[in-house]
């Protein structure tokens, strides 16, 4: 098995190279299926690795070659497959494969087919590198790589300037976070002399809890995570990232890349346990982001924007779990979220595909009959994300709520309100899109069609996963084994020893009953509001008051523009007009003028008169001889 590990990332890389070089020479079928099969190959290898890990319980570590060394600092490019990375590997390659297959159908009208699959494969390669690396540096390589692919895929339709702007925004926002990550890595290197996980964590365990340097490292790494995982204050790129093709939104901006920050913090759980202050910051930021994004999602009318804000909100949940020290719970939600959010995005893609590119839910409605498979799977996704038992989201979300209740009742309240909001915006989206009368154009209605089977089969597979995915982590109440947290125990052992505790059975029972009642009320309410009374969301000009604030996303983009972008513009204009033009340019230009002037005078000596030249020559000789005599 160990010898095959390196094949896991290499397969998608090979797919990228073949698709990238072959480009237009490959036929459509070849490039799509080639890309999908490489990811399937990685999935099969990951499953084999999972088997051997589950059997022998021994971490697979592959010593790579020595990448570089400077002074007494050595860096190895090695892989580490432990209980944490194998779960991530299975999610990335599994969901990734389904989304590749889906893309074959979704992108079928796209002229630039091979380029799309090349990028997608490159993304999978970097994402695998990110979770497989045995040191922070390898993680950082993957981290930057997925950022690049995200940029390339958001700007996939590069003829649209708005999409390009969205791509740049994502890239720059991520870069701000990456700076934090990089500084955190430097601090680790200075203090521990290594960036290998095992060395760093062993050293960190010997430091006093709450040491300032550990807090600083944890906070800096968290800055990196806020960029990649779209948390306040760096979240605004994610909703704009919906400019990319929908399968990309599903794979990169919902299921995998945005969970890189969560993965990084779970990986560094020792550091966060030793830095309680940083953990608190993580929890608070997560909770604020969760409720903030959920509020915005309620008033969005673009089907993908709602899902994007929902992703931001769900990522907030995961950060709360991380902040209270429930690391395996956070990973549990990563897994279930990957299932149901990828499902929801792919359903949205199927709706958009059927509607011929329309994304505004106010122009949809009544799609239930024309898109039966999409409707059914979307319903499952909605039930899962809202936390209706026994769908996947219920177990992971309730576990987060229970863990938060133990450690911080205030944050629990915030999250509880958020989960109500989650159900509201999801059922609003569901009812407005699939019920009522069709509100699109006549042309759209005639061409309305269910998607091809290459798209619906991945939907069905994901729907099954979103239904049963929660059973890998049953609450204690049901006396079933919590498979995931038991499996992860070796990774989080240190954290579990520090932060322990589980909710009482009575509390869990109450939670289940309350959430069922509340969800039933919400479903009944949204159904009567949007279906029975046939309300459709108002047009932009009718929106007023608090709704206006929500539909304009709390004006955060505008605030950023005023506070950051504008001053930067003014500063760079000053630099251009005064420093560049007034100072540097003048020096350069006067050099040119000086040369021109002197040469203009000197060239007069080139008279063309040979007698004069000869005279000058003799004069020169005489002067040289005279000088020789004098000196």
């Amino acid at each position: 098995m160990k010898n095959l590990i390196w094949l896991i990332p290499i397969l998608p890389l090979a797919g990228f190279i073949i698709n990238g070089i072959g480009n237009k020479a490959l036929s459509r079928g070849v490039s799509g299926w080639l890309a999908s099969l490489t990811v399937l190959g990685s999935f099969i290898l990951s499953a084999l690795a999972f088997n051997s890990l589950a059997d022998s319980n021994a971490v697979i570590s592959v010593d790579g070659y020595q990448w570089f060394s400077a002074g007494n600092f050595n860096l190895e490019f090695g892989f580490l497959i432990d209980h944490l990375s194998i779960v991530m590997l299975l999610v990335i390659t599994g969901v990734g494969f389904l989304i590749h297959v889906y893309s074959i159908g979704y992108m079928s009208h796209e002229p630039d087919y091979a380029r799309y699959f090349a990028y997608l494969n490159l993304f999978v390669f970097f994402m695998l590198l990110l979770v497989m690396g045995s040191s922070y540096v390898v993680m950082f390589v993957g981290w930057e790589g997925v950022g690049l692919c995200s940029y390339l895929l958001i700007g996939f339709w590069f003829k649209n300037q708005e999409y390009n702007a969205a791509a740049r925004k994502a890239f720059i926002m991520n870069r701000i976070g990456d700076l934090g990550f990089l500084l955190g890595m430097f601090l680790i290197l200075v203090n521990f002399g290594s960036l290998q996980y095992d060395t760093v964590f062993e050293a960190a365990k010997n430091m006093p809890s709450g040491a300032p340097v550990l807090t600083a490292i944890a906070l800096l790494l968290f800055v990196g995570a806020t960029g990649k995982s779209a948390q306040i204050p760096l979240y605004t790129w994610l909703p704009d990232a919906m400019a990319g093709p929908t399968p990309v939104s599903a794979l990169i901006h919902a299921a995998t890349m945005v969970t890189a920050g969560i993965y990084m913090i779970i990986r560094s759980n020792v550091l966060y346990v030793m830095a309680p202050f940083a953990s608190q910051i993580v929890a608070v930021i997560g909770a604020v982001t969760a409720i903030f994004a959920a509020l915005i999602a309620i008033k969005q009318n673009d089907i993908k924007k709602v899902l994007a804000y929902s992703t931001v909100s769900q990522l907030g949940y995961m950060f709360v779990a991380l902040g209270v020290g429930a690391f395996s719970t956070a990973l549990f939600h990563v897994v279930t979220h990957a299932f149901f959010k990828a499902l929801l995005f792919l359903c949205a893609g199927s709706v958009i595909h059927g509607m011929g590119g329309e994304q505004d839910i106010r122009k949809m409605g009544g799609l239930k009959k024309s898109l039966p498979v999409t409707h059914f799977t979307f319903l499952i996704g909605t039930l899962a994300i809202s936390g209706v038992p026994p769908f996947a989201g219920f177990f992971s979300k309730d576990e987060i709520l229970a863990q938060t209740w133990i450690h911080n009742p205030l944050l629990f309240t915030v999250l509880a309100v958020t989960s109500v909001l989650t159900a509201v915006y999801m059922f609003r989206l569901y009812f407005v899109t699939f019920y009522g009368d069709f509100r699109g154009t006549h042309h759209q209605q005639e061409n309305l069609h269910e998607s091809p089977s290459s798209m619906t089969i991945p939907l069905m597979v994901l729907a099954v996963l979103a239904t049963v995915g929660g059973f890998i982590g049953l609450p204690e109440l049901f006396h079933g084994p919590h498979l995931l947290s038991e499996f992860l125990a070796p990774v989080t052992a240190y954290a579990d020893a520090y932060i322990s505790g589980s909710a009482s059975h009575a509390f869990e029972m109450n939670m289940i009953i309350i959430s069922i009642v509340v969800l039933a009320l919400i479903i009944a309410f949204t159904r009567s509001y949007y279906v029975k009374r046939n309300n459709i969301p108002e047009t932009d000009s009718q929106t007023e008051g608090f709704s206006l604030l929500l539909s304009n996303k709390f004006y955060v983009d505008e605030i950023y523009r005023a506070v950051v972008t504008r001053p930067m513009d003014v500063l760079s204009r000053f630099g251009y007009n005064w420093i560049e033009k007034g100072f540097i340019d003048r020096i350069v230009n006067s050099m040119g003028l000086l040369t021109n002037g002197t040469s203009g005078m000197l060239r007069l000596t080139q008279s063309g008169n040979i007698g004069f030249y000869l005279f000058a020559m003799v004069l020169g000789i005489v002067v040289l001889i005279a000088l020789k005599l004098v000196i």
Binding site: I610, L614, V618
Partner: protein, 102 residues
Amino acid sequence: MELSGLNNYLLLASVLFVIGVMGVLFRRNAIIVFACIELMLNAVNLLLVAFSSAHNDPGGQVMVFFIMAVAAAEVAVGLAILVMAYRNIKSVDISMLNNLKW
């Protein structure tokens, strides 16, 4: 060789050199100018041979052979240029050759 003998050679070489310089400076016929340059070269050759003999050092004479070889090559090129110039302007007056300027 005695010192006074060397002085005679130096004097002769200087006179030849100055005649060459004057010719180059004041004559306008390119062929004469050319010949005067040869005269200067030979004045230097004479000096080299005289010093070589005075110091018992054959190096100076070797140098002379080099100069002769280079001068021969230079004459070949120079005369070729002159021939071309004459074909173009029907003259060998150097004051007529003044088109190469700014």
